[in-house]
Subunit: 194 residues, 6 copies
C-alpha cells in the first residue's frame, strides 16, 4: 500500500528487548498478526512498557463492566476524538466480545442510536463527558451513573478508560498510527463451526 504504519521508525523484532519481543510474540500467537500499536510504540521501550501495563490494568481486570462494555467506551470516545487506529482496532475487538457485527460502527458514530442497553448508554454518556468536558463533571453525572447500577468503582473504571484512551488517541494521531488491514473485517463474519 505504501502507507507507512507510523511517522516514526519502527524497530524490527530482532532489535527489541526480550520482554517487549515476548509480549509481541504472544499477541501474534493469539491474534494471528501483530497489531501496529505494538510495533509502533516499541520505538520507545519505556513508554511501551508503561502503556501496556496501564492498558492491562484497566482493560483486563475483573469488575462491574464486561469486556465488551470496556471496549464500547474505547470505541465511543475514540470516535469523538476522530482516532482512526483506535476506532478500527478496538471496533474489531468490540465486535468479537459483543458477538455483534454492527455495534462497533454504531457506537463509533452515535451511541444514542446503537443496539445497546439504557445502562450502556448511560455508561457512554459519562465516558464521553470525561473525554470531551471533564472539567464540568459534577455530582449529577455520578448520580446518573449510579441510578443505572454502577458502583463508584465502576465509575472510576469508566472514567479511567475514557482518560487512558484520551491519551492513546492523541498518541495514535501524533504518530499517524495506521490500523492493520486485518482489523477491518474481524468480527463481521460469523466464524465457521468446525
Amino acid at each position: 500500500m505504501g502507507h507507512p504504519i507510523s511517522r516514526y521508525p519502527v524497530p524490527s523484532l530482532a532489535d527489541l528487548d526480550d520482554d517487549i519481543r515476548r509480549r509481541i510474540l504472544e499477541v501474534q500467537e493469539k491474534a494471528g498478526f501483530v497489531p501496529n500499536v505494538f510495533l509502533t510504540l516499541a520505538h520507545r521501550p519505556d513508554e511501551f512498557r508503561a502503556f501496556f501495563a496501564y492498558h492491562d490494568a484497566l482493560m483486563d481486570k475483573e469488575g462491574g463492566l464486561s469486556k465488551a462494555e470496556r471496549e464500547m467506551i474505547v470505541v465511543a470516545t475514540s470516535g469523538a476524538n476522530d482516532c482512526l487506529y483506535c476506532v478500527v482496532a478496538h471496533g474489531a475487538i468490540l465486535r468479537i466480545y459483543a458477538k455483534n457485527p454492527r455495534v462497533a460502527d454504531q457506537v463509533a458514530v452515535n451511541y444514542r442510536k446503537a443496539e445497546i442497553t439504557p445502562r450502556q448508554k448511560a455508561m457512554l454518556a459519562f465516558a464521553l463527558k470525561v473525554a470531551t468536558d471533564s472539567a464540568a463533571l459534577e455530582d449529577g453525572d455520578y448520580d446518573a451513573a449510579r441510578r443505572h447500577g454502577f458502583t463508584d468503582e465502576d465509575i472510576w473504571d469508566i472514567g479511567a478508560i475514557a482518560a487512558f484512551f484520551a491519551m492513546s488517541n492523541r498518541i495514535a494521531n501524533l504518530i499517524a498510527m495506521r490500523p492493520n488491514d486485518e482489523f477491518y473485517l474481524m468480527g463481521r463474519v460469523p466464524r465457521e463451526k468446525k
Copy 2:
C-alpha cells in the same frame, strides 16, 4: 431486533403510489433488499419524490467526480454530522465503487488518514467546509480546489452533495432512521468469482 427503522409509521408496499412502489421494487431487484431510506421516506410521498429526484441529479450524473468520489463526500460529511444511517449505508456503497474494503471507515473517521489521493483530500476539505462552516467560504477555498484540477462545475457538485447530505443527515437523525443490517458487511469481503 426490536429496534424500529423509523420513529414514524412505515407504509406497506401495497399502500404506496405506483411510481414509488416501482422505484422501491427496482432498487430491491438491484440490491437484493430495500434500503430503509426508501421505506421510511415513503411515509411522505411528495418529499420522497423530491428527495430521490435531487439525489439522482447529484449522484447519478456524469462529470469530473467519479461515483466513488461522490460517495466519499457523503461518508465524510455524514461522519462529521454523526449520522449513523448515512455513514453505514453510503459506506457500503463507497466500498463497492472504490473496490476498497477499508476506505469508508477511514473517511468516516478522519479523511486525513485515508488511503486516498491528495486531490481527493482537497475535495473532502472543501466538502467539510460546506458541511460545517459554509458561511466562511471564501475565494481561497475555491482556488485550493482548482489547484487540484477541479473545474467550477466540479466544485458545485462537491458543495451541492455536501449540502444535500446536510439535509439527509438531519432527516435521518430526525426520524432515527436505522440502517439495514445488510449494509454493514457489503463491500468488505471479495466476491467469489463464478
Copy 3:
C-alpha cells in the same frame, strides 16, 4: 451595483426549458420580480426542479403549522447558519405572512427575544437543534414539542424544514447567492389601502 448574484453563470430566460421558464414567469407575475434563487439555481435544471418540488412539498402544504410559522423556522435556522440570502428573502416573506414588520429581524438574531408565542419558541428550539446538533436529538426533545400541542406530523414538518434549509443555506453560501434588493423593504411598510 456590480455585485453578481451568483459565483456561477446565470442563464437567460430564453435559454431555459419551458417548465422552468414558466415557473419563473409565474413567480415574477406574483411577486413583481424574480427572486434570485430561481435564476441562480436554473444553472442546474434538474437540481432546480428537485429543489422547488421539495420546497413546495414542505412549505405549501396544509398542516398544524401556519405559513408564518414555517417561515419562522427558515429565518431562525438561516440566521444560525449565517446565510444572507435566506435571512433576507425569507425574512421578507415572514413579515408578510405574520403581518409583523419586526418579527423577522427578531427571529434571525435571537428567537428568545422575539414577539412570538411560547409554542412558537418551542418550535424554534426544536428546529435549531435539528439545524445545529441533530445527532443529539432524543425523546425529551420530541416530548417538549408535544407538550406545546405539536403532533408527530407537525414535528416532522418542523424538522424537515430545518433540514431542507440546512441544504439551502449551504447552496446559497456555496454560490454566494445575492438577495434581490426588493426583499429588504418588503413587509416593513403598511400597504396603502386603495
Copy 4:
C-alpha cells in the same frame, strides 16, 4: 405589545437626575424618540453616565474610521453575539450613516457577503477576532489591518469598539433590552425631498 423594554424597573423622566434627563431630552429632540438604551440604563445612574461617556469617546471622535465604519463594527460584532437590541438599533444608525438600506442586514448576517470595500472587510475580520477570540490576537492580525492602511490608532479604535460592544451586548442580553419599534424601519426608505 405587552413586551416590557427591560427585565428591570424603568425610571420615569421626572425621577432622573438633571444631567441624565438632559441627555435623554437631547437625544429625543434629535431622533424624535428616546432609544430604550437610555431609559433602561437610567435605572443605574452612575453606570449610565460611564456607559455613555465611554460610548461617546469611541463613537463620536475624529479619526481614520468613518462614522459608518464604526457602526459597521457594532452591527457585525453584535450579530456574532446575537444581541437583538444592538443589531436593530445600530443597524438603523448604520443605514443612515452609510446611506445604504441593505448594508446593516448584510453585515449582521455575514460581512463577507456585504456591499463593502475590502478594507472594510479587513476591519470587520479584526473586530470579530476581538469579539470572539481576543486571546489569540497575534502580530499577523495587526499586520493584516495595516496592509489595508489602518494606523495603529485606527486599530485601537476598531478593537476598542468591538470590546465596548462586547460589554453592551451582554448588558442588553442581561436585562432583555427591547429595541424601539422605530428602529426597524429607519434608513430603509429614501427620505422625501422637500
Copy 5:
C-alpha cells in the same frame, strides 16, 4: 525584562492631565506601585476616565455582593477569556479581599473545584453564562440565582461585572497589557504582624 507593558505608547506621568495623574498617584500611594492598566489606558484619556468611572460604579459600590465576591466574578470570567492581565491583577486583589491565598488560582482554572460556598458557585455559573453565552440567558438562570438569595439588583451586579470585564479582557488582549510583577505574589504570604 524587555517585555513592554503595552503594544501602544505609554505616556509619562508629566504629560497627563491633572485628574488622570491624580488618580494614578492615589493608587500608587495605596498599592505601592502603579498597576499597568492605569498607565496603558492613559494613552486614551477620555476612554481612561470612562473606564474607571464604570469600574468604580460596579466594583466600589455597596450591595449584596462582598468585595471578594465581585473580584471572584472578575477572575472567573477573565479565566474563561484567557486574559492574563486580569487573571493576575484581579487574582491578587481577590486573594487579599478573601484572605485566602488559594482561591484566585482555583477560580481562574475551575470554579467548581474552588473553596467557595454553593451560593458563590451559583453566582459564578450566572456570571460565566453572561461572559460566554449571554444570548441564551433565560428565566431559569435568574431563578437559579434567586434560589441562592440573590436579589434582582444583585443579579444586575453579577451580570454587569461579567459584561464590564468582557470589555476589559478584550482591551487588555488588544493592547497586550502586561501585569506588573508585583501582582503575582500579592496576597499569597501572610503579612507579618507589626
Copy 6:
C-alpha cells in the same frame, strides 16, 4: 479545610504495598510533603505503578527539551483542560525549574503572552494542538516545530507529554483531586541563601 482530596477513598501509608509506600516516602523526603496525586492514585495500585512509570519515562528523561520546557507543556495543556490539580502542582514545579515566579501563571492563562522564547511558543502551539485537536495534525505542524530546531524525537516528546496529561487531567477531574496547599506558594519567593 473540609474539602477531601479525592472523591474516592485514600489509603493509609500502612496499607500500601512496599514499592508504592517506598515511592511515596521518597517523594516526601524530597519535597517535604506528599503531593496528593500519589495518595489518591494509590487507591488503584496497578494503575498507580503504570501512571508513574509512564510519567517518569516522559518527564525524567534526557533529550532536547529542558525540564522546565516539559513542565511548560504540562501547565499549558492543563490550563486548556481546566484541570486545577495539574495547573497548581505542575505550576509550582515549573516555577522552580524555570527559576521564574511568573511563568507558570502566564503559561496557564495564555502562552502567547508569556515570558518565553519563540521556540518555546512554537513548542506550546504544537502541544496545544495535540491536546485539543489531534485529529487535525498535519505535515505543516511538524514542519513548524522543526523550523524552531526541534528534532522528530523532540516532537514525539512534546506530543506524548501533551497526550499523557490529557489522561492525567481527566483522571484528576474524575476524582476531583485537590492540590496540596503547599504548591500554591512554591517557587514564588526567592529561597533565602544559607
